[in-house]
Amino acid sequence: MTQRHSLRISCFVFLLVTSVQTAIMAQDQCLTCHEAMEDSHAALFKKDIHYAKGLTCADCHGGDASKEEMDAAMNAKAGYIGVPKGDRISATCSKCHSDAAVMVKRYRSALPLDQMELLEKSVHGKLSTSGREHIAQCTSCHGSHGIVTKTNRTSPVHPLNLPATCAKCHSNATFMRTYDPGLPIDQLEKYRTSVHGKRNMSGDPKAAECASCHGSHEVLSAKDVRSSVYPTNLPATCSKCHSNATYMKGYGIASDQHEQYAKSVHGKALLEKKDLGAPACNDCHGNHGAAPPGLESVSKVCGTCHALNAELFSSSPHKKAFDSRKLPECETCHGNHEIVAATDELLGVGEGAVCAWCHKENENIKGFEVARTMRSLADSLITGENEAISLVSEAEQKGMEVGEAKFKLREIRQARLETRTKVHSFDLKQFQEVADLGLAATSTVTAEAGEAIDQYFFRRWGLLVASLIITILAVSLFVYIRRIEKEQAQNR
């Protein structure tokens, strides 16, 4: 190659490159200047995904990015808005991010388009204390100039970083107090002690973090019926991960808890009857500090509602027996997720009775006897109650007045309920005391109802006798009249 030839080529390349560079640089003069000024935002922006997609400063801030002169570039007539404040920020993001023509057609993005809409309806979309803007803007969580996708490890909304991002506000007592003094601010702290938190801290992006349960743009107050963490919705939320066997592979726990829970008394009460008194997953496991209760503390946890049973259990011989054998207390007999309504079938030593698992005729004999006696007392109460009810009903059907006996029926029902609680003392004496009251009421009611029924028949027999007497009297009176009239006729 001749020297003149290589010189021509290099000039051409140089011109090509510089023109391309100029072409590029000519598109974002803002960045050029601000970078030269060592503006940190400009430096950050270079890492931003919007920069990678070819957006300029002016695409958010307005103005003319092709102009070198400040006055021409940062010109209001060219659309310059300066640093947007308040809702102007989110409006700016939304200009593109809510526009299908931009996101889908131009950039072929798979991102959702409803973030702004959801944010406005969420709790963060409420007005701030100043009253001039929403509580949160897009930039509050996503940052402003170094925005990356959430799969990027440096993103503030990456699963491993998200808890800290939310905590920026939610662990700030002073800040939260201005909105909801009653809302706790220790969620992050508790989270770090939970199974989810520990895994999150050790780098597992699959573990649940704030958005997994609360949602991202659509976060609603936990008291809001539509919230994903409202008690009636909560089991489904936990279930999203915990019932997915594939997702949960490798963690070493079952994935059928929700299935079992839905069949249980608690599940039916909460999910079907919408009874908010029934526990959801968080009531027993905790929500931010979620972890299964320890073996020795199961009765305490159940005892937050079932106080009497827990109290009786704790002072019973079973407490030591169970704990020393590493048996989870209430769960051993009642199950954990699939807790069904406790009936008398659970008690005793027969088929289906839980006592029989440990207490057999020649093993743990003392308990065997107690269980058997308790069951037979409970059975007597049932048969007694049924008999009493049927007798009272019969008397009532016959039209007899049995208001008082009906009143005493309550005592039998009460005894049945109380004995079921007293079982947890595993002390025959306590159980017997209550059962005896019920049995006494049974005999009283049965006697009274029986008396009423006897009255019914007595009345009818009495009527028969009285009618007989009257008939005889009437007939003899009639004959007497006939006789008198015959005599009168004869005398005429």
Binding site: A307, R410, Q414, L417, I472, S476, L477
Partner: protein
């Protein structure tokens, strides 16, 4: 006027009729009188108790105590607080209808069945009861304490 001779058969028939008539008449009187006399005998429970029940003397009711009083067909709990104030409520627990009791050690009205608790205004404060207890009026006339329906 005495007239045709009565044959012995006729005579015995007349006597028979007289006996039957007289006898059945007496039986009839007895059938009427027996229920009437039995009716007039005062029954065991001498009085009707109902929408106003006399509990007893004010000085007999201890402070910080509660008692169950039968009010017609319902149980009613009468509580006297530490400051001497009396209050009365329908003692049927609003959870599953057990009869509540006053617990001095807990300072509340308590239900033995499932640990339901009510404060001394009858409001349900802990446990499963969904509603407060229905209050009744307590009237003190001189020394006597009465419970009556809230109207």
């Amino acid at each position: 006027m005495e007239n045709i001779e009565q044959t012995p058969a006729k005579q015995s028939k007349r006597d028979f009729l007289k006996y039957i008539l007289g006898g059945s008449f007496l039986a009839w009187i007895a059938t009427i009188l027996y229920p009437l006399v039995a009716y007039l005998k005062p029954p065991k429970q001498a009085e009707v108790e109902v929408t106003s029940v006399k509990v007893g003397k004010l000085q007999d009711i201890e402070k910080e105590s509660g008692q169950i009083v039968k009010f017609g067909n319902k149980p009613v709990i009468l509580v006297r607080a530490a400051n001497g104030e009396l209050s009365a409520f329908n003692a049927t627990c609003t959870h599953l209808d057990c009869t509540v009791q006053f617990r001095k050690d807990m300072g509340v009205i308590w239900c033995a069945c499932h640990n339901g608790k009510y404060d001394l205004t009858g409001r349900n404060i802990a446990g499963p009861p969904p509603r407060p207890l229905d209050p009744l009026r307590v009237i003190v006339q001189g020394e006597e304490v009465f419970i009556s329906k809230n109207v």
